[in-house]
Symmetry: C2
Subunit: 448 residues, 2 copies
């Protein structure tokens, strides 16, 4: 087992996904397509020696989508731009497998990986909004569990394509006239249930071998997928007890698949509220709460339930029974909402407001937040955190400027990057050996 | 009619597409995935005030593909990176419509357009290699003319998606709490023969309204497509007489579709060989020729004929009759080769060598090449040129450092960029009005 290290990422998410975030006096209202905003955030993250910037994504909007979703950069393009403004920061792109082709995804990620000299990551998602199908010439969205079967094969194909060229395939020997060694180029010839992909990919392996794989699934199928494939997990946050149970479950599943549990980082997304005193932090939270309208809380509650219109229900009656609505969407979120409502016998109004901006445990002075980060890490509730902008537009800045130095002081987090390190190396992950090189090595071994 | 302006682009194509280019003593052998090489080329192009950098593409390789194709950056990612290293240079990405989805392409291009502040262009291609289908889970590649029907509808959808948001849709008025005006957001609701796309797109319009559309088709279907849609054409080059005929044909077709013929730029790709004296230029050409082996000439000849293996034929017999092979590929190229062979009664050996690196008319001193550029422009054989690396690794540098200053001196080409100009403005193209804004304006007019 390799040594555990704390990992930290920055969620670059414009103003954040809440309906009212943009109205905050400090919010950059057009952040979603504001290059300078993204550059500034990436710079903050890199100055604090964070592991990576993480760009979330989705490909379907309605007039009721929250402002950040309405107009924002596409992940691969903005991260390719950020690659030029950073030197060490990992660059994690969210890309769906439900409406893309493995050849294109493998290629664009490999290209980002080359451009950034080994800093690319891929957050594999399956797209949860049923409406997405209508943007991609499909009559129906794939059901939840089928999406994970597709995701399995998709990743298998992508990894296969990334091995098209062995690391030392390209000789480029002008004198001998040899550009590459033919026996180090491999066609994949994949034929599966969902994809037939011959290959080879038209780009060489990157410095880190393959982009780092992230996953965000919390459902049963999602956890299993993560345990098999993921090297980082972006997950929801609840109490430390819940987090510990989730952490343990993921590590056990990962070990059960024969993988080193230290090669998967459980990283809850947190939206810290940080201020010099507890009182000021509380004020910041109250200011954030004051922006929320009941209307927007209801709209935002509806999104994971396929944009369900909650406004037609009595606000002060118990949370309505929705039957199967939301089952094929973000299961983990919708189940959590329904459970919470049932358990605590909440009204619709209570559920909507509490869901809109849940009170984070990561609120208080820099020292308190640093203590919590350290505690969660050391008590194995998390391997690290992804810092999001939901609770305050200055969350990332406050965290990088005031919390990270404390963690560095304590030796809990790195103070410098290894100058030549890839994202894999920064995260303590091995560089996956090319499957064909491995086979070759095995043959030599047997032949001895 | 607007005034004609000379346009110049740089083809960023690694070492170039010839099999032996990389062996040139001055060639950067790993150029295809060498970020510093691309940065340097973009810098040269921008310092010379060129209109754009152009990144060609394809998505299928075999062990016999020429070295540049084997490993290279994907266009959208490398151009997003180059957007950060340049301020005025247009960024034209080649993207196939045969194996992509309009929603994704519209979005990635719009994102590049935002990142570059209005400098994106799209070279629409249909993919000519039959093998491509096997990388995209399809049993068969689409036949040539069907590809253009798909391309028609694809572009229609993409343009529709780019109009999802009217230019002034986003108010972001924190006081009033209005993020955007609902009647300025439009779902496309497209249902056609090949695509069903609801929309809206999840990114606002860019500074130039829509990316500039390029096209490279030379066939009948390709010309017609260009006349309807293209704002720039990347085309082959032959004699000035052929170029004039092609130019006239394109402008007539464009006018026949009710478009201003000055809103389509015919831009042959040229591979100039430039040196202080004629003798030195000739030496450069001979040096380039000396790199070609007969084997690689035959391989490279085979590519447009679906990697046809010419080596099985007698080299000194007349060029073989291939029947229908190549008809569904790059028709314009294969037809040209077959015609040339027939007309001049050439052997296979002659055809292979002459096709490998045709003698360009643009060879000689900077003054001679500048004279030719000016002549072709003034005599309406071209609206401009795209400078490629096939004939010499230093073509772009020689052209930007020695030929462009002469053209600037003569007032034929710009000496400075308009500081705030988009690619559209640099190319003298109008910003297309949003279709819904246009309708609204028309209604107001009628209502008066």
């Amino acid at each position: 087992m390799t040594e555990r290290r704390l990992k930290l990422g920055a969620m670059l998410h414009g103003v954040g996904t809440g309906w009212d975030n943009w109205k905050h006096p400090d919010a950059v209202a057009d952040a979603g397509t504001n290059l300078e905003f993204y550059l500034e955030q990436a710079k903050q993250a890199e100055e604090a020696k964070l592991d990576f910037a993480f760009v979330a994504d989705s490909v379907y909007i309605t007039p009721d989508s929250t402002p950040h979703y309405l107009s924002r950069f596409e992940p691969l393009t903005i991260l390719s731009a950020l690659a030029m403004a950073t030197k060490h920061l990992g660059l994690v792109a969210t890309i769906t497998v439900s409406y893309t082709q493995p050849y294109t995804v493998a290629r664009q990620l490999a290209s980002l990986d080359h451009i950034s000299k080994g800093r690319a990551g891929w957050n594999v998602v399956t797209s949860f909004l049923e409406g997405t199908a209508a943007n991609y010439s499909q009559e129906e969205h794939y059901p939840h569990d089928l999406r994970y079967q597709i995701a399995d094969e998709f990743l298998e194909v992508t990894k296969g394509l990334w091995d098209s060229w062995e690391d030392d395939a390209f000789l480029r020997d002008k004198k001998a006239g040899t550009f590459y060694e033919r026996d180090k180029l491999h066609a994949l010839n994949h034929k599966g249930d969902f994809f037939s992909v011959k290959g080879p990919l038209n780009i060489s392996r990157s410095k880190q071998g393959q982009p780092v794989i992230f996953q965000a699934g919390m459902s049963e199928a999602g956890r299993d997928y993560a345990a098999r494939h993921a090297e980082g997990i972006f997950c929801g946050v609840g109490s430390i007890e819940n987090a510990k149970a989730y952490f343990k479950d993921i590590k056990q599943r990962t070990a059960a698949y024969g993988r080193d549990p230290n090669h998967i980082s459980v990283m809850p997304g947190i939206n810290p509220i940080i201020a010099p005193t507890e009182e000021e932090a509380e004020e910041k939270y109250q200011q954030r709460l004051s922006l929320i309208t009941l209307e927007s809380a209801l709209t935002s509650l509806g999104r994971p339930f396929n944009y369900y219109d909650f406004s037609k229900h009595d606000l002060d009656a118990p949370f309505p029974d929705l039957g199967d609505i939301g089952k094929e969407s973000i299961q983990s979120t919708t189940e959590k909402v329904v459970e919470m409502a049932k358990k605590r016998q909440m009204t619709l109004r209570e559920v909507a407001l509490e869901s809109a901006i849940p009170r984070t445990p990561f609120i208080g002075t820099p020292k308190k937040v640093a203590d919590l980060v350290q505690q969660w890490f050391e008590e194995e509730a998390a391997d690290g955190f992804i810092i999001g902008p939901e609770a305050s537009p200055s969350s990332l800045q406050d965290f990088t400027a005031h919390v990270v130095p404390i963690l560095q002081e304590r030796g809990v987090f790195r103070s410098e990057y290894d100058p030549a390190a890839t994202l894999r190396e920064n995260m303590g992950l091995p560089i996956p050996q090319n499957r064909y090189t491995e086979k070759r090595a095995a043959k030599v071994e047997v032949g001895r």
